[in-house]
Amino acid sequence: MSPRAAWRLESLGFAKVYDYVAGKLDWMAAGLPTEGTNAQRPRAGQVARADVPTCGLGEGLGAVRDRVRGQGWDAVVVVNDERVVLGLLRSKELAQDSGLTIEQAMRPGPSTFRPFVAIAEMARFMTEHDLDSSPITTSDGRLVGLLLRSDAVRESQTE
């Protein structure tokens, strides 16, 4: 909350009041709980698949493709040791020459969305831009999961 709101709560007698300096959006982007009417609406972070396969920059495309497809996926997120998203390979990138490294084959710095974005908005963006999937990350770039358009559209229709 804002510093003014924190001071106001203290004036009302609340003893444990904290000013979250990074702000409300950062709080929500970390997937932390919220209250109120909007908190009941499904959001990107809840619908994203946290079990999406990941790989590193130095791995070979052929081996990663076999592993990913063996798990029933057609996309893989490239992360570092901190699980920060560095790239993305969807079906088009995965179909390239097996001899490439992931770093050579990936789509670098893909657009990402925060976990608090309403699922209806995500469904609209992904349909409008013909995106099969979108990485969902925290404010500091750590992977939360991969949101599939089919999941986003289905969830938005049940709202």
Partner: protein, 50 residues
């Protein structure tokens, strides 16, 4: 930078769509407009904290 498309929301010339990363997106949107539309960025009504 070869800015060939414009943001369909604000008209700013951009290199690629901030949503799909494609340089020829028909619904291209800039980073700022996308973030505002997604609620990832708030328009600030004032700069002095009210």
């Amino acid at each position: 930078m070869s800015a060939d498309i414009t943001c369909t929301s604000c008209g700013k010339r951009i290199e690629e769509c901030a949503c799909c990363d494609e340089p020829d997106c028909a619904a291209a949107v800039c980073f700022h407009c996308l973030n505002v539309a997604a609620g990832q960025e708030r328009l600030q009504p004032h700069v002095d904290c009210g």
